[in-house]
Each structure stands twice: as structure tokens, then as C-alpha cells.
């Protein structure tokens, strides 16, 4: 499937996210790859007629999530991103997220964070449902599931990076590694992420 076809498919997606997150996408691209890379991505989006007017977006207003997904897709295409780069993008979004700072009260402990995870999710997306399935301190792992969140496989990588970095704010370690154990795009009913730490 070519890019245009994929965009066409994504354009059918419903659901919204906060303007600040769409804006942070471009900010992260520039931070990770440089200004030129960001402009290149913007140009491609423009060429495809899908460049969002993100500079005029309000941080806390809702905007279609498809703009977010298309931006990531185009960035992947233009910058040649693979899984690790997408994860890094997710990590970067956490670092720049203002919402994350607002929800800092949940970043006190694993339990606290996971207790507020649903609340936090709803601040980002007006669709899908997140659930903390397990905190296993003995095994040093957490298991998170997301239902009704079938955006695009690239988004799964970004979300995984997002989870890894979010946990890093709570855990006193750098050794955090996550993986998507279940994915709707692989035929599962939901997405499941297991994040392990040392």
C-alpha cells in the first residue's frame, strides 16, 4: 500500500487528540532530526495536501487524531524511521508533554501512576480504553492493555515508547524495556504492552 492509499485509509479514522500533542509531534521531529527534517516532513504533508495548520492549534482543544497518525506516517516515510525511531519519538513526546507535567501527581509511584492512567489517557484521547492489568514488582514488570484503539501499527511503537519513558519518571532506573505482546493489527482483540525494568 502506498502512502496516499494509507492516508486515504487513515482519513477514515475517527477520534480526537489534544492540539498540544499534534504540535509536539513537529517539535519532537525537529528535536530528534533537526529543523531541516521537520521542514521536509511539513513539505511532504503539504504536497500530499494533509499538512495540519498545527501552529494555530490550541493546546487544549481537540483535533482529529488522524492528523497525528498521518504526520507520523509521513515522518516515517520521509525520514526512514523504523521501530526504534518511532519508540524514541514516543519517548520524546513524554519529555515535551505539558499534560505529563499536569499529571505529575500520578508520577509518584507505579501504583499511583497506574491508578491515574485512565484519567491521563482521557486527557490525550477521546476514544479507546486503557487498563492496568498487572504490576509485578517481583518480576519487575507492568502489563497494560488498550482496547478500541486501532489507529495504525506505527502508533503502537510510539505508544510503547511513551509508556517506557512515562515509567522512567517513576522508577529509579534507566533500564526499562517494553514490548507489545498483543496487537489488533496482528489479529488480537486488544493491544497489550509489557514493560520490564531493572
Amino acid at each position: 500500500m502506498n502512502l496516499k492509499e494509507e492516508i486515504k485509509k487513515i482519513n477514515k479514522l475517527e477520534g480526537k487528540t489534544k492540539g498540544i500533542e499534534i504540535k509536539n509531534n513537529f517539535k519532537c521531529i525537529e528535536s530528534l532530526e533537526g529543523k531541516k527534517a521537520r521542514k521536509k516532513v511539513e513539505k511532504k504533508l503539504d504536497d500530499l495536501g494533509v499538512l495540519p495548520d498545527y501552529k494555530n492549534y490550541k493546546d487544549f482543544n481537540w483535533y482529529s487524531v488522524k492528523k497525528d497518525v498521518i504526520t507520523l506516517l509521513v515522518a516515517k516515510e520521509v525520514l526512514g524511521w523504523k521501530g526504534e525511531e518511532l519508540k524514541e519519538h514516543g519517548r520524546c513526546l513524554v519529555k515535551l508533554s505539558f499534560l505529563q507535567k499536569i499529571f505529575v501527581k500520578y508520577f509518584v509511584s507505579l501504583e499511583k501512576m497506574l491508578s491515574g492512567i485512565k484519567k491521563i489517557w482521557k486527557r490525550y484521547f477521546n476514544f479507546g480504553e486503557i487498563e492496568l492489568k498487572e504490576i509485578n514488582k517481583k518480576e519487575k514488570m507492568v502489563r497494560i492493555q488498550i482496547k478500541d484503539f486501532d489507529l495504525h501499527p506505527i502508533y503502537c511503537k510510539v505508544v510503547l515508547g511513551y509508556f517506557e519513558k512515562s515509567l522512567a519518571f517513576v522508577l529509579d532506573t534507566k533500564e526499562i524495556e517494553g514490548m507489545e505482546t498483543k496487537c489488533t493489527f496482528r489479529g488480537d482483540k486488544l493491544h497489550e504492552f509489557i514493560v520490564k525494568y531493572e
Binding site: 519529555k95 501527581k105 509511584s109 522508577l171
Partner: protein, 528 residues
């Protein structure tokens, strides 16, 4: 309608939130103090521009990292975070920030707990103030203090050494002072017990010291004269006499006889006391020579009487022998004549000795008065040379007489001058070896005549030079050469010359000969 209102309110709340976010972003960006926020786990959540500038990190490089990583004192930071819960805040603790480029920046760190509405700790605010300048200044100050301390320590050491040196000097000084004190006591004891009287006149012309012997001799007590000016003590009769003799400004005097009265004759010497080229005063010694003078007088009188008594029979013997030799009492055989001549010569020597003794007696008694007349020394010398002709011939001595063309007149006692010159010529002839040479020279100077007689005879050893004009002195070489001789000739000559206001001296080297000189003041000049 309600839904629309709710939507409107929600919209306004979002706008307010956005404004608030912008406000917070702008104000943290504006703040010149480096600020960062952390999660409760100490993970950096946000940094401002000042923090970026100070640490060199970009937001993405640092957000999410443990705040401990950016400080050198990791354990201290951990402790601070742990303490936070109890203490709420920590202010101005000094730590070191590790910059991205590996630099170390001293900072003052303030921590404050961030709490939610339930008063639960949800993170921390950190402010970092660069105190590099302060630390540098402190470091410089510390270095300066250390340097000054080192200098001070060094100076203290030096002072300690100086103190030790001074203590040593003080000990040495004390030792020296003790020695000086001892020496002073010794000197005082010597002066006190000195057999002669001692007076010290200081630079202010005051009597600084008078010893017991001087008190006794001068009939005064120390308290009467000590520290008094000479002018004042002159009221004491003896002092007046002494200082009159020594002069107003006392100069060095050697053995000056002063008759204080019939029963006291003092021999007074004055020597300057000099220390390190500075004259401290004059030391006057008073030696009582009364007894010596009496004995001398008695001796002189005895010699005079004895000589007179001896001369009369010797003269009678002389006349008798002359009569015998001239045949007035009949002619003598050759052998008889030979014995009589020998006896006559011995008698002559005896008369000569008696004459010498009489002369000496007169000199010592001060009766050696002379008749002042104009005399021609050149002529006297000529006559004396004539008298010695036979001796000169017998010893094959070449005598050269160098004389000025003009008459060399002096005012004096002709007989005495003749005697003085005769004694000098006698000695030269006597002590010049056979075949030797004598040079007599008479020169006229501006105010004097200068006489010299040079021989190449036996000479006088240098050791005996100082005694050559003493009474009865004969040098060892002279005694070996000529057994006969009274040792009075030079003594008489000296007294005669000096009595005429002249001076006499000599040069001599043993084995090489002698030259005797005298000078006499010129009298009236006359043409030849």
C-alpha cells in the same frame, strides 16, 4: 441551552488553561535563575532556559533523567531528596553541577517540595545559582590567606630564629658584660693597689679617677677632687704645681721630675687614653722618686768628692812622672824610661776617667754651667784632628774632613763643645779597624750647623741602640775591642749638645760602622 453554556464555559476554561500554560512557560523562560522540576522519584521533568544555559543540556537530553546524575555529590542529592519529605525545603546548599561538556560548576542549590491538593509530595522544584565567582573569590581569598599564612609562618619562623639569635647575643653580651665587669674590677684593684699615684683627667678636663696612692702623695681625698674641673682642683697646692708643669692642655709627658717640696719629688708621666682612635682623656702617673733622688744626690756627691780627692794625688803623680821623664831628677835608663812612660799613660787615663766622673757629677748636680762665647766649630774640629794624628797614623786610618768654607760660629762653651766632639772623634778612632776610614763632615744649614762623623768600624748592634747614650754603657763589641773606656763619653756629649739647645743621634749597624750626628743652633755668621 445548558449544553451550549457548558460548551462555552469549557471553551473559556481551555483558553484560560492555555494562557496559564503560556504564562508559566514564559515566566520560567524569563527567570535568570536555573530552575528544574522533578518527579517524586527525582526524575527531571522540566527545565528553563537558564538551566539549559548553565548545564549545557537541551530539554530532550535531560528530561526524564535522574537529577542526581547532574551533580557530583550524588549521595548528598539523594539524601536531600530523602530529607525533603520531612524538611519541606532545603536552601542554599553548595553542590557541584556537572555540565554536558564535562565542566564542574559550583552552585547553591535550593529544593522545595511540590505538593498536590492533598498535601502529598508529587515532585520537587529546584533552583540552581551559579556561585563560580563567589567560589573563585573564596578560593582566591583562601589562597591569599594560605599564602599570607605561609608568609606569616615563615616570618614567625624568622622571628623565632631572630629571637634565638638575640637570646644568644644577649647571653654572649651578658657573658661579655660579666667579663668586662670582672676586668673593670681587676683594673680598679690594680689601680687602687698601684704603687704609683694615678690620676685620670677626662675630656671635660675633670678628674675622673684618683687612686689611694695619688691621694696619699697629693694629700687629698677622692671626694675633694673627683669630677671637679682642673681649674677648681688647682686650689689644692700640689695639683696646681703638677698641672702647671703639664700645661693647660695636657699633652703626653714622659717622666717629668717635679719637686713638690724638699721631701717630695715626683716623676710625672702623662699619656693619652685612646680607645678606638678616640681620646678618652689623659692618664697621669705620679711616681715618688724622692728616695732615689736622695740616693743619687748622695752618690753624686760622693763621686764628686772622691774624684776631687783622687785628682789631687793623681796630678802630683803626673808632675813627678813628667819630672822623671824630663830628667829633672837625673837621667833614666831606657828600661826605666819605658816603665815610667807606661805609668804616665795609665795615670793620664786615670785623670781622664776622674775628669769624666767630675763632669758627670756636675751634669747630675745641675752645675754643668757653660761659658757662652762665639766659637768656631770648624776650628775646634781641625785642632782635634791634629791631636789624633798619631793614632790615625798608627792605625793607618784615612780621615776625610769635609768642611764649609765659611766660619761656622755658634754661641756656646768652647771647652764643653770641644769635649763633646772629642768624645765622638775618640770613639770613631778607637772603634775603627786598622786601614779603615773616617769621614767628618760639617755642614751649615739655615739655622743650624750639622756635624757628622762616619766610620766603618765595629758598629753597634741594633738591640743596644736605645742604651747608647746611657751613663756607663759600653756595647759588647766595644768592650771586646777596647777593654779600657768609662762608658761616659757619649753620655757627656749628649748632655753638652742638649745643654746648648742642640740634638744628637746616630745610625749604626753592627760590623759595618756608625755615624754620629749632632746639630747646634748657628751663632753669628762671619766670612772666612
Amino acid at each position: 441551552m445548558n449544553k451550549e453554556k457548558t460548551q462555552q464555559e469549557l471553551k473559556e476554561a481551555r483558553r484560560d488553561l492555555e494562557d496559564l500554560k503560556n504564562y508559566i512557560t514564559q515566566i520560567t523562560s524569563f527567570l535568570p535563575v536555573a530552575i528544574c522540576t522533578t518527579s517524586a522519584a527525582g526524575k527531571i521533568m522540566e527545565i528553563n532556559d537558564a538551566f539549559k544555559k548553565l548545564s549545557g543540556y537541551k530539554e530532550l537530553e535531560i528530561v526524564g533523567n535522574s537529577v542526581r546524575e547532574i551533580f557530583q555529590e550524588k549521595e548528598k542529592i539523594r539524601g536531600i531528596i530523602e530529607k525533603q519529605e520531612a524538611k519541606e525545603k532545603v536552601e542554599n546548599t553548595e553542590v557541584t553541577l556537572l555540565t554536558k561538556r564535562g565542566g564542574k560548576v559550583p552552585i547553591k542549590l535550593s529544593y522545595r517540595t511540590r505538593k498536590d491538593t492533598n498535601e502529598e509530595t508529587i515532585g520537587y522544584f529546584l533552583s540552581l545559582i551559579d556561585i563560580t565567582e563567589k567560589v573563585e573569590a573564596e578560593k582566591k581569598l583562601k589562597e591569599k590567606v594560605e599564602t599570607r599564612t605561609t608568609e606569616l609562618r615563615h616570618k614567625i619562623n624568622e622571628l623565632e630564629k631572630t629571637r634565638e639569635a638575640l637570646m644568644n647575643m644577649l647571653e654572649d653580651f651578658e657573658e661579655e658584660r660579666r667579663k668586662v665587669e670582672e676586668e673593670k674590677k681587676k683594673t680598679e684593684a690594680i689601680i687602687t693597689n698601684f704603687a704609683d699615684g694615678v690620676l685620670m683627667v677626662n675630656n671635660q678636663n675633670k678628674i675622673a679617677l684618683i687612686n689611694p696612692k695619688a691621694e696619699e702623695l697629693l694629700g687629698v681625698e677622692t671626694k675633694e677632687v673627683k669630677n671637679k674641673k682642673i681649674k677648681k682642683v688647682n686650689e689644692v697646692p700640689y695639683f696646681e704645681k703638677i698641672f702647671a708643669e703639664l700645661g693647660k692642655e695636657i699633652k703626653a709627658v714622659f717622666r717629668k721630675e717635679i719637686t713638690m717640696n724638699e721631701d717630695l719629688i715626683l716623676e710625672v708621666s702623662a699619656v693619652p687614653v685612646v680607645k678606638e682612635e678616640k681620646q678618652l682623656g689623659i692618664l697621669v702617673t705620679l711616681h715618688d722618686i724622692t728616695r732615689e733622688k736622695r740616693i743619687q744626690k748622695m752618690k753624686t756627691e760622693f763621686v764628686s768628692v772622691a774624684a776631687h780627692q783622687l785628682r789631687t794625688p793623681l796630678s802630683a803623680i803626673k808632675w813627678t812622672l813628667e819630672m822623671l821623664l824630663e830628667g829633672d831628677v837625673g837621667s833614666l835608663t831606657e828600661e826605666q824610661k819605658k816603665f815610667v812612660i807606661k805609668t804616665f799613660k795609665s795615670n793620664e787615663r786615670m785623670i781622664s776617667l776622674i775628669n769624666d766622673l767630675l763632669n758627670v757629677s756636675r751634669i747630675e748636680e745641675g752645675r754643668y754651667l757653660y761659658e757662652r762665647k762665639t766659637i768656631d766649630v770648624k776650628k775646634i774640629i781641625k785642632n782635634l784632628i791634629e791631636n789624633h794624628k798619631e793614632d790615625l797614623k798608627r792605625k793607618d786610618i784615612n780621615l776625610i774632613y769635609k768642611k764649609p768654607k765659611r766660619k761656622t760660629n755658634i754661641i756656646g762653651d768652647k771647652e764643653k763643645i770641644r769635649l763633646a766632639i772629642q768624645n765622638l772623634i775618640d770613639n770613631a778612632v778607637k772603634y775603627t779597624l786598622e786601614g779603615g776610614e773616617i769621614i767628618i763632615e760639617l755642614e751649615e744649614e739655615e739655622k743650624n750647623i750639622k756635624f757628622s762623623i762616619q766610620d766603618d768600624g765595629i758598629g753597634i748592634s741594633e738591640k743596644q741602640h736605645p742604651r747608647i747614650f746611657s751613663k756607663f754603657f759600653r756595647s759588647k763589641t766595644a768592650v771586646r775591642r777596647e777593654t779600657e773606656g768609662s762608658g761616659l763619653g757619649l753620655f757627656i756629649a749628649k748632655n753638652i749638645i742638649e745643654a746648648h739647645g742642640g740634638e744628637i743621634w746616630f745610625d749604626s749597624k753592627e760590623g759595618e760602622g756608625s755615624t754620629f750626628y749632632f746639630k747646634l743652633p748657628l751663632g753669628e755668621k762671619e766670612d772666612n
